[in-house]
Symmetry: C2
Subunit: 352 residues, 2 copies
């Protein structure tokens, strides 16, 4: 928890995308973690014009006002890539701290991509534009970190079980409406029902009572953009350019927790017991007790990266993990707040 210094108390904080699913979590976290926001300026990046709750009041979230952002000390971007691409470099060039949750700058070699538990050392006073990670990559980077540091990871394979909230508000509302529609068709007693395909527009396939292996668009090598993000971002935050990563990213009908079945192939043999001890010591990790495991329903609304089912993989140099984290929190809003808290602790956030 950051100390509230006199100087920091009066920080002016901008939030671009405050009415979105991640934006709502960000405001709640600023409050819950007692972040010293002297003034909060929420902006809506889309068509949605509404008020957002903050410290017992409702604040209007108007359309983006660059002038108002330019007088902030710190701006969080929790919106689309295009919005970050347009505004984030201009603001950071003026000395304003920008923490960007979009994927626009994550692979830019001049921009630190930061998961505080993994690479807080990448934060520098001169680099005022900071990228937060992909919500599927972040839990893997935290859960596997101790194995990478202690033994070295050669290959990482992961199948994801990604919740619908990661695709945004429209996708979530599409899910709920499909669910209502299909539920009416379910009856007990007879054969297992064969449901018709529901209509979809926000997601590429119906998601209620379904799963589908498409998150983002497919590239020429057959991998989806989400799968490639996990690979390239993991190499960057672990500083492991030769790491081999193969991911199958799958959307599942969960609301807000991303789960992962991961196979971590190491440089040398490691017992599951030793792997467990290493992982248990990683900051930000919550390990399940023997025989138990995390689920998205249990992880929803919680801060840690949850890890369970640690066991040997296909050979003695491989460890299997089951990883779950709230995709809106550790995968997005919480990670951004944790970065801001480090800037605060290091005394880099000026008072206005």
């Amino acid at each position: 928890m950051p100390r509230e210094t006199g100087a920091a108390k009066s920080l002016r904080i901008g939030v671009v995308g405050a009415t979105g699913l991640v934006g709502r979590e960000l405001l709640a976290l600023l409050e819950a973690r007692n972040f010293p926001a002297g003034e909060l300026r929420p902006f809506s990046s889309g068509r949605r014009r509404q008020s957002v709750p903050f410290r017992g009041r409702r604040l209007q979230a108007p359309g983006i006002d660059e002038k108002a952002l330019a007088s902030c000390d710190l701006v969080f971007f929790v919106s689309a890539d295009e919005v970050s691409l347009r505004l984030a470099p201009r603001l950071s060039a003026r000395g304003i701290w920008v923490i960007d949750d979009s994927s626009a700058f994550r692979l830019d070699p001049k921009v630190p991509l930061v998961i505080p538990e993994v690479n807080a050392h990448a934060l520098l006073p001169s680099k005022r534009l900071i990228a937060g990670p992909n919500c599927t990559m972040a839990p893997i980077a935290v859960a596997g970190l101790a194995l990478q540091r202690a033994v070295g990871v050669l290959e990482l394979r992961a199948a994801s079980y990604q919740a619908v909230a990661g695709a945004g508000r429209e996708a979530l509302e599409e899910f709920f409406s499909q669910n209502r529609l299909q539920s009416r068709r379910l009856k007990g007693g007879g054969p297992a029902p064969v449901l018709p395909q529901a209509r979809c527009s926000a997601l590429p396939q119906p998601i209620a009572f379904n799963v589908f292996p498409q998150v983002g668009r497919f590239g020429r090598d057959g991998y989806s953009s989400e799968e490639l993000k996990v690979a390239s971002e993991l190499r960057k935050v672990w500083e492991a350019p030769n790491l081999r990563v193969s991911v199958t990213a799958v959307r599942v009908p969960a609301i807000r927790g991303h789960s992962l079945a991961a196979w971590v192939a190491l440089r040398r043999p490691l017992s599951p017991a030793r792997a467990q001890a290493l992982i248990a010591g990683t900051p930000g990790v919550c390990l399940s007790r023997e025989g138990d495991y995390p689920t998205p329903l249990r992880a929803a609304g919680k801060w840690p990266v949850f890890v369970g089912r640690i066991r040997a993989g296909a050979h003695s140099r491989e460890i299997c993990l089951w990883i779950v984290a709230d995709s809106l929190l550790k995968g997005a809003a919480l990670n951004s707040i944790q970065i801001a808290e480090i800037l605060l602790r290091r005394g880099w956030l000026r008072s206005p």
Copy 2:
């Protein structure tokens, strides 16, 4: 489609577990595939006493009657392990053909474990007790067969997305009832909801709006019984005793299609294009066109094993697959019928 010979026309067929989810599919398939059942004798293995539909009539399914089974030519077991353990050896010792969908005899070296597309050669006139495969293993065995035959598989890793019907009728009804309950708590507009844990008894965790990595019980090495079944049964049907298999079996809120993200590590490099051509030639496989992929909703009620997203894995000797099959059909009832059709074609099914 089997020819209806005069002799086979009057076959007497027993079905143990006819009122269950797989039993219902089995009866529908006997009808749809025009299997020459002169007389059908359905039995209920549980408490449920009800009639089942067959060829436009409703047949009563009484409790198991061993004497009535003993005068059948062929008995399908689609029920619990205990029921098969008790009755199947006694019936087959009398010369009655028994096709057992339970896991009771699958690993018995004296019992052929058969997936017709994979190892129909294991069927012998002297082996009248025949085991059908685990519903998660069957799609992998079919989808990966061409790679195993052409190049040889060294290691296989798979994460499953298993539908609820695979856990039986009570689990499916628990799913529907949780879904109704939780759906009432969903509202649009605000933050992404954090749902409470729903009560469960048929499944080890709530399944509506959730996923959980437990199918069966956990053993000492941390693997679940389902995961170990996939490994040991795949080694048996592929006749590959040294195959290294590591599975993470996960239940998802789909109704009746099991999906799998698989990494198949081969003895030598293979291009994805070549892998695709090999897999396309496998009987029982339906390949998705470029950029498309199967889902459980699309595969429900269908007979093939659907394969898509064929691409390179973590290295040049590895191929990734996305596999979906209806767990009640290819994973269970359809496979049993296909075995019976082979017995029929070979002229091994006597008329009574």
